[in-house]
């Protein structure tokens, strides 16, 4: 296999400070590295005619993300969340243990809570609570308080390390 390793997943934001506040102060990611990209070679790679890009690699647990802030040429798209059935990356899932506290935290740090999507499951096979939020630019973040699911997760984690 000619592949060494998968790296980070990138996302484009409209306000770098606001995003760092949400992801790092709000959700506990740490900044690993900072980069700046400009010049003709990077324009070619990124398929942009004009370019002044600041990025931050952030990590929490095993997830590495790259925040991209295009000072030039600016951003496209809207800060509305996309439908979950739209082709492409759809959401980030996070395990939580107090959904009310998470919801408060999301709002305090510049995100939004989609109250209408908040759902409690209380069936024999699934007991837990799901909360859908968005980051300041409309990225869906799914918070899950689902103790039975975490057992699966822990097993996968030990398998991955073993």
């Amino acid at each position: 296999m000619p592949i060494k390793s998968v790296g980070h997943v990138g996302f484009c934001v409209s306000d770098l400070d606001r995003s760092l506040r949400f992801w790092c102060e709000g959700l506990g990611f740490e900044v690993l590295r900072e980069f700046e990209f400009y010049g003709s070679s990077w324009k070619r790679v990124l398929e942009l005619d004009d370019l002044d890009l600041q990025t931050r690699i952030i990590r929490r647990d095993d997830m590495m993300l790259e925040i991209l802030h295009f000072r030039k040429p600016g951003t496209l798209g809207t800060r509305e969340r996309s439908p979950i059935n739209q082709l492409g990356f759809t959401h980030l899932a996070i395990w939580a243990n107090d959904i009310d506290e998470v919801a408060q935290r999301v709002v305090d740090y510049g995100g939004s809570v989609i109250e209408s999507a908040r759902t409690i499951f209380d069936h024999p096979k699934i007991k837990g609570e799901w909360l859908i939020c968005t980051d300041p630019d409309g990225i869906r973040v799914e918070f899950v308080d689902y103790p039975a699911g975490e057992a699966v997760l822990q097993r996968e984690k030990s398998e991955a390390k073993g």
Binding site: P2, I3, K4, S5, V6, G7, H8, V9, G10, F11, C12, L27, G28, E34, F35, E36, F37, Y38, G39, S41, W42, R44, L46, E47, L48, I57, D61, D62, M63, E66, F70, G74, T75, L76, G77, R79, P83, I84, N85, Q86, L87, G88, F89, T90, L92, A93, I94, W95, A96, N97, D98, V102, R105, S116, A117, I132, G138, I139, L153, A160
Partner: protein
């Protein structure tokens, strides 16, 4: 902090078998598990008004877990064209490779596309490596990087 752990990132695809072929056979992810989602509670969580029948596969490679979402009902929206890098939202997945030519061939063989015009070789004192943008069968950008020392030493290196 009420948050325990970050989990996976989801991706919506138009053809489940084609996506599994690309991500697993092509790029070396393994399938951990799969589950269908339907019924009114899940419609609420996913903000889907119409009938919902969603098949998912959780896949993993290295530290990254992805959840492939295939909406049998109500189908998907959007196009399989790659999105501009500067569009708000998720943009790309970076992959570190040993041999960019070999991976590029693999991408094509397993149903993805390569964007030839992005192929770039950096040969500066501070940065030597090869970059190539590809897409999965549904237009997700996969950034292939052949860079001997890897991510840990990537520095601010730009040309004017």
């Amino acid at each position: 902090m009420p948050i325990k752990m970050v989990g996976h990132i989801g991706l919506c695809v138009s053809d489940l078998d084609r996506a599994l072929r690309f991500w697993c056979d092509g790029l070396g992810f393994e399938v951990l598990r799969g589950a269908p989602f339907y019924g009114s509670s899940w419609k609420r969580v996913m903000e889907i008004d119409d009938d919902l029948y969603l098949q998912t596969k959780m896949i993993r490679r290295d530290h990254l877990k992805l959840e492939i979402l295939y909406f049998e009902k109500p189908g998907h929206c959007g196009t399989s064209e790659r999105r501009p890098m500067n569009k708000l939202g998720f943009t790309h997945l970076a992959v570190w490779v040993r041999d960019i030519e070999e991976v590029a061939k693999r991408v094509v063989d397993y149903g993805g596309s390569i964007v030839e015009s992005t192929r770039t070789i950096f040969d500066h004192p501070k940065l030597q490596g090869k970059w190539l943008i590809c897409t999965d069968p549904d237009g997700i950008r996969v950034e292939l990087v052949e860079y001997p020392d890897g991510e840990s030493v990537l520095e601010h290196v730009n040309e004017k």
